[in-house]
């Protein structure tokens, strides 16, 4: 019995970590700026490629992952300054633009680096409980997901950047009229979102095959989480990831991976029907 409970919790934790890590960057960019970033998967890919490259050059894996996140973050700031920056009042155009960036980046990487890149093995070992064997690295990922949520909470609620970015998201013009350099807030926020995507890519790089289209692996889960969660990372993304992870773990345990995936998509459809603005939209409406 205990073995089954652990297996279920492990499944849940694994799904939760994947959803939180892959969605955090997308949720921040959508929630803070209203931009639907279709190049999210490419920032993840950027993080994964840079992580693997620097790790193969001899950097310890944690540092390599930070390099991946940093590289994706800088790329994000660059993209924001050059392109997104001009499209704040044209949300539909920003979708097309980020989709275009996604296509260009994927194809460029394919041409320059080929269809696949040699990876690095999953670090740490495995352990067995009963008949099942579990990866220790996956436990690390669960811990990182929880720590990431805590770190983001502290960033947005205790720092000056967090204060000004929350002011900017609530009343952009008023914030600017009070002296806040809102364009800088937007650049940094987009960069943060991209860096979090890169972090997800770096963290999962050791567990995956590196191909230019690897972002697709994350994109369904991340969009599902953001749609269910709505615009707020803490009131939305975290509970959405918990709910979805629960459904996925139950469905997977019952009928296997495919049904886990089906369970996710059915949940999205139901949630959109009942809560068009996601979990956090409902929370915020209740509170104000």
């Amino acid at each position: 019995m205990l073995q089954e409970i652990f297996a279920f919790l492990y499944q849940f934790g694994d799904a939760f970590a994947f959803l939180v890590l892959s969605a955090a960057g997308l949720a921040i960019i959508f929630g803070m700026m209203g931009i639907i970033n279709l190049a999210h998967g490419e920032f993840i890919m950027c993080g994964a490629y840079v992580t693997v490259t620097t790790a193969r050059l001899g950097l310890p894996l944690p540092l390599a992952i930070l390099c991946g996140a940093l590289a994706a973050g800088l790329a994000g700031i660059l993209v924001e300054r050059l392109i997104i920056h001009r499209l704040y009042h044209r949300p539909l155009d920003s979708i097309v633009a980020t989709w275009g960036i996604s296509l260009i980046v994927t194809q460029t990487v394919l041409i320059l680096l080929g269809s696949t890149m040699p990876g690095i093995g999953t670090p740490l070992g495995s352990f067995s409980i009963g008949a099942f064997s579990y990866s220790e690295y996956r436990l690390v990922l669960m811990a990182v997901a929880v720590l990431l949520l805590i770190a983001l909470y502290l960033l947005f609620n205790t720092t000056r950047f967090g204060l000004l970015s929350r002011a900017t998201i609530q009343k952009p013009q008023m914030a600017q009229a009070l002296g806040v350099k809102t364009s800088r807030v937007y650049s940094l926020t987009f960069g943060l979102g991209a860096a979090l995507a890169g972090l997800a890519g770096g963290l999962y790089a050791p567990t995956m095959t590196l191909v230019p289209t690897m972002g697709v692996t994350f994109i369904v889960e991340s969009f599902v989480t953001v749609v269910v969660g709505g615009a707020d990372v803490f009131l939305g993304t975290a509970p959405a990831a918990a709910v979805l992870a629960l459904i996925k773990a139950v469905m997977t345990g019952w009928q296997g991976q495919l049904f886990g995936q089906i369970g996710l998509l059915v949940t999205v459809i139901v949630v959109i029907r009942i809560l068009p603005r996601g979990i956090s939209g409902w929370f915020l409406k209740e509170r104000t």
């Binding site: 204060l163 002011a167 008023m174 914030a175 600017q176 009229a177 009070l178 002296g179 806040v180 104000t288």
Partner: protein, 255 residues
């Protein structure tokens, strides 16, 4: 229009009649409005350092547009805005704020999902001129903001939100306060508190105030001088005696 210095009201020591020195804020032939449709046709006026000046006029003559253009949230299509002789019409709103413009919009625009204290902390951004934030004056004038410091701003009453919007600017020690209809939708006792606070700031710190208003009591209790706006132009200037001619002011405010 000539002004009689004897009619100067008993206000702060820094209030002085127009024309004594270069105006603090000078607006010339200003044009602007929402996307192609000009709301401001040709606005010209000036405000001296330490003055409290009212812009009065009926609904829809462009008063709020003027305020939004002065702070820089709307672009000017022509004309000039000078602060102590320096042309600032091309600067973005955040730069103007850091030059000392304190803007309090119509409808207050507090950050609703942030606490009162957090709202005030955003206002610290204003004072990027080698000075620290000034919470003492804010709490002295509006003690409610200290009592409610942890409350979410969106749950405050209209009058409390107005006090917060003014306090949020005062924290950053502005030199020019731009107030857009401070009395709108607020109970009379709080309107009087706000009027008193602004007059005290003007007297003690030499704060220059430009405000848009339709409330006769507020105009008469605060303004040392006024301009009448109609159809996107300044059509008349009123001295303090003319501002206290209720019939005359009513005529400018009524349809």
């Amino acid at each position: 229009m000539m002004r009689d210095p004897v009619s100067e009201p008993p206000t702060g020591p820094l209030a002085r009649p127009l024309g004594e020195s270069e105006p603090f804020l000078q607006v010339e032939a200003l044009r602007g409005g929402y996307g192609g449709k000009p709301v401001l046709q040709d606005v010209g006026f000036s405000v001296g350092r330490g003055e409290i000046v009212a812009i009065i006029g009926r609904n829809g003559v462009g008063k709020s547009t003027l305020m939004r253009t002065l702070i820089g949230l709307m672009p000017a299509d022509g004309g000039a805005i000078r602060l102590e002789g320096r042309e600032i019409g091309a600067l973005p709103a955040d730069r103007r704020a850091r030059l000392g413009f304190g803007y309090i919009p119509q409808g207050r625009d507090v950050f609703p999902r942030m606490s009162v204290r957090e709202n005030l902390r955003v206002g610290e951004t204003l004072c990027a001129r080698g000075t620290g934030p000034d919470y003492d004056t804010v709490y002295d004038f509006f003690p409610i903001l200290r009592e409610r410091s942890q409350q979410r701003a969106g749950t405050l009453s209209g009058g409390q939100q107005q006090q917060l919007a003014i306090g949020r600017v005062m924290v950053g020690r502005p030199t020019l306060m731009l107030l857009d209809e401070p009395s709108e939708g607020i109970q009379p006792s709080i309107v009087r508190d706000i009027g008193r606070a602004i007059k005290r700031l003007n007297a003690s710190q030499g704060l220059t105030v430009l405000f848009v208003e339709q409330n006769l009591d507020m105009i008469q209790s605060m303004a040392q001088r006024g301009y009448v706006m109609d159809k996107g132009r300044i059509v008349a200037e009123l001295n303090v005696e003319e501002l206290h001619d209720r019939e005359r002011v009513r005529r400018y405010l009524s349809v």
